[in-house]
Symmetry: C2
Subunit: 360 residues, 2 copies
Amino acid sequence: MKEEQLKADGADSRTPKMVVSNGVDRFLADGVHYRDLITIGEQLTDWASWPVVWSRFADQAEARGDVQLVEGHSLSAGDEFFRAALYRHYAQYLYFDDVAVKEQISIRKHQSFEKAAPLLDRPVETVFFPYKDYKFKAYLRLPRGVDKAPVAILIGGLDTTKVDYRNVSDMLLARGVATFAFDGPGQGETAFFLRLTPHFEETVSAAIDYLEKRPEIDAQRIGIVGRSLGGYFAPKAAAVDDRLKALVAWAGMWRLEPMASYDEANRRGLMFLGDSHTVEEADEFYRFMDLEGHAQKIKCPTLVMHGGLDQAMPVRNAHQLADAVSGPVTRMIWDDSGHCNHDRSHYARPAIADFIARNL
Amino acid sequence: MKEEQLKADGADSRTPKMVVSNGVDRFLADGVHYRDLITIGEQLTDWASWPVVWSRFADQAEARGDVQLVEGHSLSAGDEFFRAALYRHYAQYLYFDDVAVKEQISIRKHQSFEKAAPLLDRPVETVFFPYKDYKFKAYLRLPRGVDKAPVAILIGGLDTTKVDYRNVSDMLLARGVATFAFDGPGQGETAFFLRLTPHFEETVSAAIDYLEKRPEIDAQRIGIVGRSLGGYFAPKAAAVDDRLKALVAWAGMWRLEPMASYDEANRRGLMFLGDSHTVEEADEFYRFMDLEGHAQKIKCPTLVMHGGLDQAMPVRNAHQLADAVSGPVTRMIWDDSGHCNHDRSHYARPAIADFIARNL
């Protein structure tokens, strides 16, 4: 009865421990260490503890990294700073109780990542590109020993960002592909100055304009990967900008459902992303999120990767997208897999990198 | 009562599901994918199912690798073949019910690994070196862009082997250190032609003789890492062969306990290793396993890494070893950590690589 009432009030009926145990595949796939995750799960009590506990583990990683750096162990230091950034990412992930707290943690997340940046193999260059009156930050990494490298633009989803793309970036780099990850409108640190607009794809074109000016990049070989809700943003970008020569919809999105069909966390996330203050406002705002009439314009090789058990984005979205594109399409759809295939990250993520490398 | 009786009969009172759930930190640290591990745990019924279920997952990985290879995705193929080798390793890990089955799986384990060998970054060269009338196989990997590389000899323990050393090897290579892993007497595939002798360290010296002839290796900079029971073998080698310039006892071993103090699985493992047919025979055989009088001769920089909660090798072993060596010693001993610190593999393993790289 209590829980029913909470739900009716619109409060979040998930407990933080549930979020950890339901999300274990995803946390591990993104690079959280298993024992840390279990201990974090044990220490979580209520939602107020969520940012505190994750930040504590981030602080520990960062402190270890500081020691490693002094001792000259730059690779270990880089990994610890990255881990700190990842844990800070999760400290504010889908946390909307207090947007000021979210932003504070987000700032530290990027500070940690940018401490890691020069130490990672391959290093990360923090760059900026203009979009309208805004300056978008991006993380550029170049592969070893490639003169003019192909590049994959990496697009996150609902509260997945340029930071947590690290291991997919590593896989692309190992295959000779540069990576360029940025937070679009409503995402990551961009969300604090620009929420989602119906024309996210314009920021991708702005990113391509920037990449065309980089001498290390082969501007004829630019691809894009969109994760989760990015499985809408990336196809939309490929539909309107034919400079994109390969597309991966890592979870393909055709059309957003009405807000009522999402669980509390995702609904709040979508409303934050779109800066909507009521469910009705959000339903109205998100009408644009529909690939009908756009997907048909996609001519580049496309990989649609999806799980039949995806609850956030039902698998019909993937099939609609794959059916509609005009270019050659590869479907990797596993009936027994969940959202973004974290349950088989050991071969799903490399397959994304292989697809991009092969098609650029 | 039933269980009591089983124990009294010397049968194995552990269930395979227990082995998976108690060992999750270790399996993950060595590279088993979490969702595979959980599913393997679900599919295990009795001990007869142990090699069958692990082999099934190995076969799946290998089949994926075969497809990747045909499609030209050599890095993904290499990772799948390695995964197949690792799962086959576990398929026969501490499995002594039928040594013929163990050997059969071991053969396939090495076939899988050697399919991976040329595809990994860095590739693995399979080499042989002589010891007495035997030919020992070793896996040599050279770091990128180093002219004459320092090298770490990697020694396993009780049923840990040259194959499951892969990610420590990766970390060393990333730090400019070559790796040379082999199965000593009683270990891995060597066990099928030579069981443990009181002079394991002679095989390390034979390995060094071989390495001295390799032009890519700087023979003045050879170190050694011993994992688990290798925390006895490696110090013993460093005590008798001063060509070893750095030592890591990844779990330090001072003296083996009487057989009665080990659980069934480890006791059976030790008896297999030493080819002992009774507990009394094993107790007699293992008298040699004592660093008293040897550890004092170790002059090279030594890292002793251990967990205060180690049940297989009580932490006093680590302190005895660290207290006894004559060279500079670094202790990394965490009170709240278990055997080989798999519960903090994300910083323990890199610390091993950093120590070797810094001291060679």
